[in-house]
């Protein structure tokens, strides 16, 4: 294994000593400049500049790979987040619709409650199950009947005003004659002038106000309320608004009234258990 002596270079040893000496000087310089604040000598800076592309490339590749990887992760996360947000939107939309429905119900029920509280009489809430406004006979079937204390001639109202009166009851249902029915009538008054009259349904979508003298002051826009003189409807329930008031052919005016209740959008109603006038009293009435 031993090599011949003539192949062993001698001058490299001298070179080694020179190189090591130079490097030692370089280190000393580096150490000195380090202490006076300059951390890089010119030679060191030159080497760095010469080989700078390598770390820069490595850094660029690493950064690109990192960006691509994190971009992919972000994309996956975004897709999942997007799906989740879509699900949440669907849930929230459904909930929003439900809450809106509840809010509407609440507002309506609050209105009804406040309205029913102003009457010093027992009341019953009911839902209409059938509404017949197509024929001349306007009626409505409620989901409560005599079991709930509903009797014939009980007034039926909602938050907007007078609906009609109960004309027939079963144990769990009641039939209501609407004020627009051609056979219905109610004692009413003009809220502004307190002039009393009789409201009769026109069999269509409105009602006529009768027995108002021609000289009476009734104008379109006047509010009509129940007068409480017919033994059925309590006083003070809004009935409708005068839409047309003309001088009739006889001593009375021809007045058209638009009901304050929209019969096309009835939901909950209140049945007012009005105090019935005894038959004996009715018999002696004028």
């Amino acid at each position: 294994m031993a090599a011949p002596a003539d192949v062993i270079p001698r001058r490299p040893t001298l070179l080694l000593i020179v190189v090591l000496g130079l490097l030692f000087v370089l280190m000393s310089l580096s150490t000195r400049t380090r202490y006076i604040g300059e951390t890089r000598t010119m030679f060191e800076r030159s080497v760095m500049i010469l080989f700078a592309p390598v770390p820069k490339t490595v850094n660029w590749v690493g950064q690109s790979l990192s960006d691509a990887y994190h971009g992919y992760l972000d994309m996956r996360r975004s897709v999942n987040e997007n799906l989740q947000l879509h699900r949440e939107i669907n849930q929230l939309t459904t909930e929003n619709l439900r809450l809106r429905q509840s809010e509407g119900d609440l507002r309506r029920l609050r209105g009804l409650l406040g309205y029913s509280e102003q009457f010093a009489m027992p009341t019953t809430m009911a839902d209409p199950v059938l509404l017949d406004t197509s024929s001349r006979f306007k009626s409505m079937i409620l989901d409560r009947g005599s079991n709930s204390g509903i009797e014939v001639n009980d007034a039926v109202v909602n938050a907007n005003g007078l609906i009609g009166r109960v004309v027939l009851t079963t144990k769990d249902m009641a039939k209501v004659q609407l004020i627009t029915d051609g056979n219905s009538s109610a004692g009413v008054l003009v809220d502004r002038t307190r002039r009393q009259g009789v409201l009769r349904g026109d069999g269509a979508v409105g009602a006529q106000l009768y027995d108002i003298p021609s000289l009476s002051d009734v104008q379109p826009g006047d509010v009509i309320m129940t007068a409480g003189i017919d033994g059925i409807y309590p006083k003070g329930i809004p009935v409708g608004v005068v839409t047309k008031a003309e001088k009739g052919q006889d001593l009375f005016k021809t007045i058209t009234v638009r009901p304050s209740v929209d019969f096309g959008s009835l939901e909950e109603v209140i049945i007012l258990h009005t105090r019935k006038i005894p038959n004996a009293v009715v018999r002696y009435a004028p």
Partner: protein, 168 residues
């Protein structure tokens, strides 16, 4: 051609240095790719070439490390000279001799650095022995794997395997 291969090796070592610095900032405390390159080059037995290779590789390592400039160049030059000197007398070939040279080179390298740091900066190197052992093991293992792969797939022998006439 041998210098071209050395340059490619140096670029690979620097790339490895940068990659390890980027992903495992403390990795170079356990592993030194420049020593592998220098030992591989010095195994050819050309003492002059080994000194130059040690200086260049060391300066590059210095430029991209926080040590004082010239420290690693000094240590690697000593290692390169020692390995080349031994290989100029003993023809060492194969993975195991290469591993043995690496072990010696890493230890010499660490010792030289330890001494220089103590002399020039008057600083004590913390956990020197433990660091040296770990670095020796990992550098040796990695270097032997590289050598094995080069031998198997590229039929590569250490650069400058052919003896030069006396006086380089």
């Amino acid at each position: 051609m041998r210098w071209l291969r050395f340059a490619v090796g140096l670029l690979i070592a620097l790339t490895l240095h940068s990659v390890l610095d980027s992903f495992f900032p403390n990795a170079l405390a356990f592993f030194n790719p420049y020593v592998i390159l220098v030992v591989y080059y010095s195994m050819g037995g050309n003492v002059f070439g080994a000194i130059i290779a040690g200086v260049i590789a060391g300066l590059v390592q210095d430029a991209y490390s926080g040590a004082m400039f010239g420290l690693h160049a000094f240590a690697l030059t000593v290692c390169a000279y020692a390995v080349a000197y031994i290989n100029s007398r003993l023809v060492l070939r194969g993975t195991m001799p290469f591993g043995a040279c690496l072990v010696g080179a890493v230890i010499v390298n660490e010792l030289v650095i330890y001494i220089l740091v103590n002399i020039l900066l008057n600083q004590k190197v913390e956990m020197f022995e433990q660091g040296m052992i770990v670095k020796t093991i990992f550098t040796c293992l990695f270097g032997m794997i590289v050598y094995l792969l080069l031998t198997l797939f590229l039929r590569e022998e250490p650069i400058e395997a052919t003896r030069r006439p006396a006086g380089w």
